[in-house]
């Protein structure tokens, strides 16, 4: 197991439930990380502010509504604008294959679909923590593929 990380789990957008986000939050806690869970319907600005106040290394975003195409890149941009270039962003939810490369290009380092196992997410966290792959990094690396 890698080092203990501080990870924000947030659910931007307006869609209803956060079951998936909670499952991921618990899995990360059980993997030895400190997870700050922000609840439903946070705006990109609030998420970035939370990452700053909580001194988090990772931000995990969950979306079911199809809003990820806009919201995930917005969070990455706002993090860069806030100077939080070291923060590593990952996402989860129902995200079609053909939308993934645009998300990767915007700075999202991993995209986890509905069937993802906890151990895969934990592996990503420990691998990403050892790389310089925050939203401000030019490294094209992303998880999988």
């Amino acid at each position: 197991m890698g080092e203990r990380q501080r990870i924000i789990i947030a659910k931007p957008g307006l869609d209803g439930h956060d079951r998936g986000a909670k499952v991921v939050a618990r899995a990360l806690r059980d993997g030895g990380h400190e997870v700050i869970y922000t609840g439903l319907r946070r705006t990109p600005n609030q998420i970035v502010r939370t990452a700053m106040d909580e001194d988090a290394r990772f931000v995990g975003l969950s979306s079911l509504s199809g809003a990820h195409g806009h919201l995930f890149p917005t969070v990455c941009n706002l993090l860069r604008e806030a100077g939080l270039n070291d923060v590593i962003v990952f996402g989860g939810g129902i995200i079609p294959d053909d939308e993934r490369s645009a998300l990767h290009a915007s700075g999202v380092r991993a995209i986890f679909g509905p069937g993802t196992t906890s151990s895969e997410i934990l592996e990503f966290i420990s691998e990403a923590a050892g790389r310089n792959c925050g939203v401000g990094s030019q490294d094209p690396w992303h998880w999988g593929e």
Binding site: R29, D30, G32, T38
Partner: protein, 255 residues
């Protein structure tokens, strides 16, 4: 270890899990911001099995959705981590630092169980203990030894049946002392009783017995810090294990 600080007040809000501490803090923040610049240090336990923690107090802070207030509020979630006692001293320096940097009030929210959590509360100038109608197995705060630390007792969830019984039970438990804290009944859900809270908190006097209980915790904390900060601490531990050094001799060498 000694606090270096500016003007301002550090209060702890403590009590059993689920009693509504975070919702109460939210209610308070709605009434304090933006006039007051407030920091919240929300402490939650680390899971002893995994070493991880789920820090969920933020979910309750609806005040952060209000842009006119959010800018005067800082929230930091903190896990207790190991029982090394490091977290209470980290919280103490964080609180001093915040007070020295423009924050007028620092609120420490912590579960009132476990040594680390109680020590986190003992850092504060004033301690508010929260109770509520719960699982019907008596006053939780009493079992945790929290009552002696309380400068004010809040019975939350006054909207639920059973709140009056909790007030009565608390009054009974406290009736043996002549220096007992005030008990107030509120509902963080409906807002009932919350408007009086900011003024009460700023005017809150420390009770003699809670001051003493707090100082006992602080003294123990300072002593532990003294021992563990000694550069020979680990070496002396080794000698206890390997050479049969007695605890009394070890203490002598460490202090």
């Amino acid at each position: 270890m000694e606090p270096i600080r500016g003007e301002g007040l550090v209060i702890a809000i403590t009590g059993p899990p689920g009693v509504g501490k975070s919702c109460l803090v939210d209610g308070l923040l709605h009434r304090l911001a933006p006039e007051h610049i407030v920091a919240v240090l929300a402490v939650d336990p680390t899971s002893p099995l995994s070493g991880g923690a789920l820090l969920g107090d933020r979910i309750r802070f609806s005040v952060l959705d209000d842009d006119s207030k959010a800018d005067s509020i800082y929230v930091r979630s903190i896990a207790t981590r190991s029982s090394s006692g490091a977290v209470p001293s980290i919280i103490q320096s964080l609180a001093s630092h915040l007070l020295g940097n423009g924050f007028g009030l620092v609120i420490i929210e912590t579960v009132g169980a476990g040594q680390a959590e109680i020590r986190c509360a003992a850092i504060a100038d004033r301690i508010i203990v929260v109770e509520g109608p719960a699982r019907g197995d008596g006053i939780q705060a009493e079992k945790a030894g929290l009552l002696e630390l309380a400068d004010l007792l809040i019975v939350n969830k006054s909207d639920l049946p059973g709140a009056d019984k909790v007030v009565n039970d608390l009054t009974m438990s406290l009736s043996i002392t002549d220096d007992s804290p005030e008990i107030i009944k509120v509902s963080a859900l409906t807002g009932d009783g919350l408007d009086q809270l900011p003024a009460m908190i700023f005017a809150l006097e420390s009770r003699v017995s809670s001051q003493r209980a707090r100082n006992r915790q602080r003294l123990l904390m300072a002593h532990e810090h003294l021992l563990t900060a000694n550069p020979n601490f680990e070496a002396i531990l080794d000698r206890i294990s390997q050479e049969g050094l007695s605890l009394a001799q070890a203490l002598e060498e460490l202090s």
